[in-house]
Subunit: 481 residues, 4 copies
């Protein structure tokens, strides 16, 4: 990701954010799963750094006792050994969250834990409902009150209401999934069941893992590697799976032929060591690099990636083009949440605080610099300048995605249109703005090659072709306190 903020050096954070990661565990035998959830969340931390939480229960204990802990911060800040020890149970769900500034409050941290007519539930979800405002209004006119601004609360109300009409929690979840529209990969812990559900279009990933008699649900497979579990299979778009000691039951009622997997998971969000819906993220990035090399070849000495996310595509470009792969940047890995940002007066040097160029490696060289996207353009401009200041003879920028032009309504936090440089500038204008000698993107029509030829993906942020008609107004932040 080229960090594109006006104050990039200052933030050195991407401005495209995945909004959540979910992880659930059900150990049929044991009673000590909180640490497993903690390590799972730790492996999914890249999906959300603002808040996190864990809720656990003991299916063998008194029904309906849930212990939970959630707060603002990273997993290793929110949890300590004492807290993990206190979270005794054999079934549980965890969550990591990123959110837009306004609603980033402790009240909104997940999992949501609630009592309803049939007992206690805990919910964690990833994705954005596009009909949430409408559903909230409908619910409120039947006497609902809302204590958070997260979609989980809407889903929870529908599960609670459907549960009054159905025979099981999983039926209630399936019915609720039929009411909501948009992206929703959901994990629900009921007193005796761990339920996973993915919306019919399957925007966001969800998969099943196993370690002995312990079953897991996770946003990404990399979390299974971290906790020593094996990947079992992906939850399918539209599927509701119910994990109990009797096995994994599947409800495929809502499953359809087509789906709309988020292509940006492969390009940027997911960890390269994950597999999503059968496709290696690493492999899709190598492919992105290869496509770039074929579409936008250039005579150069070195291919480099902007760390960390540009590195694998850079390797792909190098493989395809034969131009040697190199390391051009050193990233300072000690930036924490409390890092003091340089003031305006110190801005010129601020990007270097977090990223430095290896002069020795780039001086006199013609460089192909690979990044995954350009958002505002400012950060790209600074990094190109750093390379040139370090003596690079030429800098050819290659972006492992198409130009980013449209908002996402399904769970990615994107700046408004007028901040997206590609929204109203041509590629040549962008090239000029960032100071590159040439600039090339992946053509939108070739995105399918990243996931091995399939067409069942959502590329609306590049093409504007939304798989569900988006709401008229911006649905984000409407219920901010």
């Amino acid at each position: 990701m080229i960090m594109d903020s006006e104050n990039l050096g200052i933030e050195y954070e991407s401005e495209l954010h995945e909004e959540c990661g979910v992880f659930g565990v059900y150990d049929f035998d044991g009673d000590d799963i909180a640490a497993t959830i903690y390590y799972g969340l730790f492996a999914l931390q890249h999906r959300g750094q603002e808040s996190c939480g864990i809720a656990v229960s003991d299916t063998k204990g008194p029904k309906g006792k849930v212990i939970s802990h959630k707060d603002m911060g990273l997993a290793n800040e929110v949890f300590d050994e004492e807290t993990i020890d206190r979270l005794k149970g054999n079934i549980g769900v965890g969550h990591v969250r990123y959110s837009t500034a306004g609603s980033s409050t402790r009240e909104n941290a997940q999992p949501l834990v609630l009592n309803y007519a049939k007992g206690i539930l805990a919910l964690a979800h990833n994705g954005n409902l596009i009909n949430a405002p409408k559903l909230r209004e409908e619910l409120s006119y039947t006497g609902a009150i809302f204590q958070t601004t997260i979609d989980s609360e809407v889903i929870a109300y529908y599960i609670a209401r459907e549960r009054l009409k159905t025979h099981s929690a999983e039926e209630a979840v399936a019915n609720a999934m039929g009411i909501i529209e948009g992206a929703c990969s959901l994990i629900v812990m009921s007193p005796r069941k761990l339920i996973g559900a993915r919306d019919a279009l399957g925007f966001k990933p969800l998969c099943i893992g196993r370690r002995g008699n312990t079953y897991m649900l996770s946003s990404e497979t990399c979390a299974f590697d971290a906790v020593g579990a094996e990947f079992v299979r992906d939850v399918l778009p539209g599927e509701v799976v119910t994990i109990t000691p009797d096995g994994i039951a599947s409800n495929m009622t809502a499953h359809k032929d087509r789906c709309s997997r988020c292509i940006f998971e492969y390009i940027y969000f997911a960890r390269p060591d994950s597999f999503i819906d059968g496709v290696s993220v690493y492999g899709s990035r190598i492919m992105a690099g290869r496509i770039l090399a074929k579409e936008h070849p250039v005579d150069a000495d070195l291919v480099v990636g902007v760390p960390e996310s540009g590195n694998v595509a850079a390797l792909g470009y190098s493989m395809e083009s034969g131009i040697p792969y190199g390391i051009a940047f050193i990233k300072n890995s000690y930036v924490g949440r409390t890092f003091i940002k340089p003031k305006q007066s110190q801005r010129e040097t601020s990007v270097r605080i977090k990223l430095n160029v290896l002069k020795e490696a780039v001086a006199g060289k013609r460089i192909v610099m690979i990044d995954d996207s350009i958002v505002r353009g400012t950060t790209s401009a600074r990094i190109v300048k750093m390379l040139k200041d370090a003596g690079a003879a030429e800098v050819h920028v290659r972006i492992s995605s198409p130009p980013f032009m449209h908002p996402c309504y399904f769970g990615t936090d994107v700046p408004s249109d007028d901040q997206l440089i590609a929204h109203d500038h041509t590629v040549e204008q962008i090239r000029g703005f960032i100071g590159a000698d040439s600039l090339g993107y992946i053509p939108a029509k070739r995105l399918g090659e990243l996931i091995e030829g399939g067409a069942d993906y959502c590329d609306a942020c590049f093409t504007g072709k939304y798989p569900i008609i988006p709401p008229d107004c911006d649905i984000r932040g409407e219920y901010e306190k």
Copy 2:
């Protein structure tokens, strides 16, 4: 309060706890009321030390924006200058809370802030509903979900539902107050109104204050003194008052002839510098001391109070009896929440860590020791022993309330019956247990004199005569997570 725990010295806390204090402010002109609420809560801190919170809004700003902050701890621990500065608004409500161990979680901190069909509300209440379990069940079967275990959530649901049928928030509050049973002094902040309500029996206090164009609602008048406001009047039992720039509107529909003010507010909970329903708390404690002197006279050299709560009654005893008032105890005021408790092996000395006797004052003297109640008896025994060890010739214990024998269902946290020494011991047995030379209580039939002759009070903890029939089972802790 004689601290009666087996591990008293260890806890040196009363075991009778008020469960809440509430404070609301509406400044028609300004926009900076958070500090006022903070100081108000600080003055009410004796009513609850476990969690506290403030929610504010700006009636001149965008409708329905509420900023809130709440957490576990004392007001001076939960709030700092930065937080108070961030809580910009001209209408707001604050809360301090004590609760039984299990449900003492951050989720349960008040005020409760919520969205419903008509916008945003914030609620803070003091008291305990005796039909809350029944109401929760009813609500849940119409699709309600519960994220806390506090009664405020039940009240909020009814306000939200009644609001759909009525023309104003205050009507909805009045209707909701008609549904609930038990003790409930409530402050509700709607986007443009500050509403106060007191249940029909008026268990818990609530009063109105004013400082220029700023109106306030408070559990006790001492908070008005702290913030430089004047006492206007008490909210009456069964009354709903609505404060707007147009004035104070009153709905007296639910007001009845009789009421059941908590007599223990006068004996122990409230600050002596407060006036409740027109009666000085100081005055009622002086009267308690006088009654004790008349009912249980004794030939002695010195009257002393167990600090702090026994001092005023001791003064009353001295006035009536002519026996000189003395100071016998020095209390260490540096005990904080993080104080390390002595271990079992160190127990013998533990009470002295927090309370020491002035040998010089008591040696050779016949002492009348006044305390407000005996709960378990253990602490009284230790304090009597400390006086005797210091050379007191005789120790005559006088208690400024009747024997404490029955649970409270209306907002006071009391140990279970079998821990109440008076539940199954005679006064003489208790005297023997605590090692006193004589022991006298206030007769229950004279309690009315504490509040100037009225009969409209609740003394069920002493007499077992509950003004509302209590539920069959213990209603506390039922919804614990």
Copy 3:
């Protein structure tokens, strides 16, 4: 203490501060003394609230291993159970400290722990050396470096240097005590000995206690009560005591006939439940009240103390005069270090945040109000106004000390002369300033009666007659970083 700051309500702290408390323990048998030191410091907390620390060693373990922990804050803030558990040992020393703002840094927290030629020492002291600047200069010209600005470091250097010439640590301490001038009650922990020393004039208290085979040294006897120890005797002025399993050795070489005990310890600093040099602090305050009643009788209805320090003297006044003792003030005990102070604009109400008047008790009454001192006068003025606002007919102020006019060089933090109202105002002028109907102080010549007729005390802050000629310039704050 009448709180005399211009911003009194804001600070509500005395402006006369004791500067330290010390506590040492040697358990010949056990290995777990840190908790005892912690409770001892807790009992001495009134002597210093800015920083505290504990250093322990195990005389049976490897020689010279000292574990220490110190930080800014109260004992219950600086120590938690884990820290106390980590401080394993059978010999140790603790310290609580107040200091003037500038030098209130973590580096200056005590005990001072140091290596020198003969091993490790830990030191804690109370008092102020008047020749410290001169000694620092002399030391630095022989190559000393200073990492703190506390006198302990100077004392430590002399102990270290004398130790090279002597046969024992206690001899080195005795020699060092002969070099320093001023107030110094000192506890030194050497690897195998606990040493206590008091300067020849005995300004500050130090006493010996015992609990079985555990011996203790403490600034005040109240700490012995807290930990279940018995008072053995006072360390005498000029004495060095050395506690080892062989017993208590005493070196009286520096003991003289006269001494200069700080009279303000009796008037204000020490806890009333302590005995200093054989005199009850409670008793001396009762006596102060009696003297006031005889020197400044008045026709009145009620005698009240300004809490907490004025209460005992008020009792003495009541005893002598026959005017009834009353309670006029309620103090809010929840003010902590992080309490947010009212801003300038809120000042009018600020004093009431921490202190409120019992209107019921004072309305229409002629009041005698007892306090221990007047420093700037502003606070007294506010409190008198509060009483009058509450309806007091007359307010007669009586101060249980003479007018405070001169700086202290021996360990009390006093504002500069121009801030002391008595420095350049007559009693009548002060009376006018504070708005009292009459004002009376204890005559300086009667101070001896407080300590049962002795003449061996320092009253220089009242009389300007210093027992040691003070240095030309202000010696405080000179070595501030």
Copy 4:
């Protein structure tokens, strides 16, 4: 660095630690350098993560006022905006520190700030004195006391004592540098001068930078890049430089022909974007990879580095051998200090929590895996196993240094001999232990090629040939409290 601990996965930290980084700034014009020091320390954070500190002064203000702040933790944990703002000054020095467990206390954090006969000094140093125990003993027999266990205190004493005999602080520093033996890159801030010194053998780096009228001293040049400064020159071995507004004065008295630069700075400690003594660290690691390719060629499909430190050498190996460079590992970058370590029972999966293999990249491939060293061997074994589990056909390990066999006495924290696998195992035995198909190290005799042919380096940890005769016993940890 192959993480070699028995509990590697658990720690995922190197077990070879640089012990410090230093940074000094003198701004002749401004008064706001604390932020610059903070960013400088941030760039040097890899040199020490346990504690850090900053001390500043204002050369235009009152002489001798130093403001400092230091504590345990990373720069972004120890400093916040308020603290940085409080550190006003135009001259200052900062420090980051790693230390062996026992002496990792707040007292030992640097810079050391002290008063001596001529005013105030602040010192920060990197390196280990081998005659510190002897010097401490000598000093203590002339009356010195030690409050820390760091070498800076010894150096400070000698500077203070020499200063009494000399005309300037820089002379005193030069004289002190003549007394100490071992590694010492030192920055001293005197009231009006910033002094840098490097021991005669120049073990540890120190260099000069400039930004306008602001001069800087730093352990590494990467810190200059971070703060927008230019590299001026290295401080030479044996040189003392004195920076004042008059320019940079140099004292070369102690400079010799030979020096002993730490070769491990190039191999592992320093950041690859730094230049040390004129040599690019990046370049020397590329060279290391090339040498490995020539010395230990192998028929393979992919060269990969163990992140982060193995990557550059892997690139060099790839360049020389023609075998493609690949990415095999994904590192989780969210591990913080408070990360909860897996318990024994979870150990098998623990390494994967922090490092995962890209199966897609390595399956079926013959891998050359480059790391900078093998310490215990356990971590290498685990990583090789991870590659094989992921399907690697062969794993050939190449280490960009010679076998690590001897302790370092000059500032690197190394496990004891018996924990160094190379100490008593042959290369073939180590290969077997780590499960590699082949294993190759850089021959010690070729190390000079890393720094462009020079012979002036210390490789004692590989060869046992110490440039100064080491002390008989282990000098570390001797003065632990």
